[in-house]
């Protein structure tokens, strides 16, 4: 992942940065939700959890393509790690079978551990990369692992022309 700018002055130098959004709290208080972009699942590898890396056109003016693709690829890697069928998962499965799966009530499975890692990663990405650009990623687990929901915020102070156009296009 490319290094995100750490200081406020560095952030304002970003091409897509809205100067008013410095952190997540400011985003929630001073911005209004303009649009939501949904990244759908990629089923070409079967039923494993994988999201499409195609860059949506609505985000073209908001974030660099490489940053977005890096985020999605990283998430796909995490999900692949969670669902990997290998030595450790077999051991976990056999042990669970012997204990009539009661062990799932006691210990945290590897999948749950990876999900926690994913949520920490998304939080970090939101703070460093997406909130400065007026975007917010919702953890896919909150949407049934069907989509990555990216909320696009507009500064309340700025004109609502871009948000108006997006809603009129969706209103049809």
């Amino acid at each position: 992942m490319s290094s995100a700018p750490r200081t406020a002055t560095e952030r304002t130098k970003l091409p897509y940065c809205h100067e008013s959004f410095h952190n997540l709290q400011e985003l929630r208080h001073s911005a209004s939700l303009a649009n939501k972009v949904f990244i759908q699942r990629d089923y070409t590898d079967g039923t494993v959890c994988k999201f499409q890396t195609k860059f949506p056109s609505e985000l073209e003016s908001r974030i660099e393509r490489t940053l977005f693709e890096d985020t999605v690829k990283m998430l796909n890697n995490y999900y692949a790690e969670a669902e990997k069928i290998g030595g450790q998962s077999y051991l976990e499965g056999c042990l669970a079978c012997l204990t009539i799966y009661l062990i799932f009530l006691c210990i945290e499975t590897r999948y749950e551990k990876v999900l926690k890692k994913i949520s920490r990663y998304i939080q970090e990405q939101n703070e460093k990369v997406y909130a400065p650009r007026g975007l917010l990623i919702t953890d896919p687990i909150e949407r049934g692992m069907r989509v990555i929901e990216i909320s696009v915020y507009e500064d309340r102070g700025s004109s609502g022309s871009s948000s108006g156009s997006s809603t009129t296009s969706s209103g049809r």
């Binding site: 209004s32 939700l33 303009a34 649009n35 939501k36 949904f38 699942r41 089923y43 070409t44 590898d45 079967g46 039923t47 969670a82 669902e83 990997k84 069928i85 998962s89 077999y90 976990e92 499965g93 056999c94 669970a96 079978c97 009539i100 799966y101 009661l102 799932f104 499975t109 590897r110 999948y111 749950e112 999900l115 687990i141 909150e142 949407r143 049934g144 692992m145 069907r146 989509v147 929901e149 948000s163 809603t167 969706s170 209103g171 049809r172």
Partner: protein
């Protein structure tokens, strides 16, 4: 406005015949306590222990299953074990006990675990999917919109993903909508009335453990009871004397004799499914058997190795539950979400949603971001306005439910009741089409 009256049923509206009910908050908004998500869950499920356990709404046959197992095992331990311990070995109750514990625990886990229910789409998500669906001709001329499908290529196989009108999503591969539970379930196998729940991705391994251990248990009890009666009738006493001395054994013999064939058959069938990485649903529909004459069709999800298939199905990682049962409904969304979810029971009956209704959803989703949070009262009105266009139609059998009906009908061949081997196939498929009004019929028809 029909739907508004349906929602806001209050004594004032009923007493005075006013066409528009007074603009007051919905009754749901009255209690101020935070509600958990299971309380507003749109599917037909029941929850226990504050959302920790989930079952299908009709769990009618589960008590029968439990009762039969407990009764037969109880009689075995009380009447047969003492004799067998005295004459044979004390390992018999030990083995029986272990098998019994396996059966009960795996049955309860199958019944009370979320099978892999997919949560329904949020309004914004549904609107986004609507935008992407290219339907230029529209459905103004046709009575119901054409079934929406999307094609993906998985492992060089073309797989069609169908759109679920109830959940408003394109179903992932191997996902099917259960009409009894009114949920889309991942890796849907079948809805099992004996366990009172769907069998899907998350509880298939519990179900398999249950039927395998049950087949061992019934075979074990059958063998032990036969041995017991044989030992008793030795020495010229005869079988009648043995049965008179231990009448409980006769009951156990009858139950086990009729169960062991069906349960063993079912275990064998599911072992085949596990080895080929198929679901009951796919096997019955013949999705990958090349019934259309296409030689290239094969199961794209199979690893082409029996061991790897078995390991991935039974020993694979345990996926998490996607429905958040115990989380709290956000208080600022409760006004917004409850109208939409109250609409769902009315819309649930109407499987073939009019395009007007979904367009209304589009307007809702596009309108909601613009409403500021300072005006929550306005939101229900805005949400309600486009939705009255949904006209509840008499329930029809949609295309997507055919597979489920067939799977239920076919499943009765494997789930032959313990007391008789009757095949209630025609009744099954007809009764299961009557969706909400006659919920109990499907399970009773399986016993006929």
């Amino acid at each position: 406005m029909k739907n508004r009256e349906y929602q806001q049923i209050d004594p004032q509206a009923l007493a005075t015949p006013t066409p528009t009910p007074p603009p007051r908050p919905l009754p749901e908004h009255k209690p101020r306590r935070a509600r958990r998500r299971w309380e507003v869950f749109p599917g037909k499920n029941r929850f226990y222990c504050d959302g920790r356990m989930i079952v299908a709404r009709q769990s009618g046959v589960l008590p029968l299953t439990l009762g039969l197992i407990l009764l037969t095992s109880g009689l075995f331990f009380i009447f047969d074990c003492p004799f067998l311990v005295k004459h044979l070995t004390s390992c018999i109750p030990a083995i029986g006990g272990v098998l019994f514990v396996f059966v009960i625990i795996s049955l309860l886990q199958t019944s009370f675990t979320d099978p892999g229910i997919l949560p329904r789409a949020t309004p914004e998500e549904a609107a986004d999917i609507e935008k992407q669906i290219d339907n230029p001709t529209g459905s103004s001329s046709s009575y119901r919109p054409p079934p929406r499908t999307k094609e993906v290529v998985i492992n060089q196989q073309v797989v069609k993903l169908k759109y679920c009108f109830t959940c408003k999503i394109f179903r992932p591969p191997r996902t099917s909508h259960c009409s009894l539970c009114d949920n889309c379930v991942e890796r849907f196998d079948h809805h099992c009335p004996w366990v009172g729940n769907c069998v899907g991705k998350r509880n298939y391994r519990f179900f398999y453990t249950f039927i395998v251990s049950l087949s061992f248990l019934t075979a074990f009890i059958f063998g032990c009871v036969t041995t017991h009666l044989a030992l008793r009738s030795q020495g010229g006493n005869g079988l009648v004397f043995a049965l008179q001395a231990s009448p409980a054994s006769a009951l156990e013999l009858v139950v086990c004799f009729f169960s062991v064939w069906s349960i063993l058959g079912l275990s064998g069938f599911h072992t085949y499914l596990v080895a080929t990485n198929l679901t009951t649903n796919e096997d019955i529909k013949g999705s990958w058997s090349g019934k259309s004459g296409n030689e290239d069709v094969g199961n794209p999800y199979s690893y082409n190795s029996i061991i790897k298939n078995c390991c991935s199905v039974l020993c694979g990682p345990m996926p998490p539950s996607l429905i958040d049962r115990r989380g709290f409904v956000p208080s600022d969304d409760s006004v917004q979400t409850s109208p939409v979810e109250i609409e769902l029971p009315a819309a649930k009956n109407d499987i073939n949603m009019c395009t007007q209704g979904t367009k209304g959803l589009l307007e809702t989703a596009s309108r909601s971001p613009l409403l500021t949070s300072s005006c929550p009262q306005a939101k229900p009105q805005a949400v309600l306005e486009p939705l009255p266009e949904i006209v509840p139609e008499p329930p029809k059998t949609p295309h997507k439910h055919h597979s489920h009906h067939r799977s239920k009908a076919k499943q009765s061949t494997h789930h032959t009741p313990k007391t008789s081997n009757s095949s209630p196939r025609p009744h099954h498929s007809h009764s299961s089409r009557r969706k909400d009004s006659k919920n109990r019929d499907p399970k009773f028809s399986s016993l006929r």
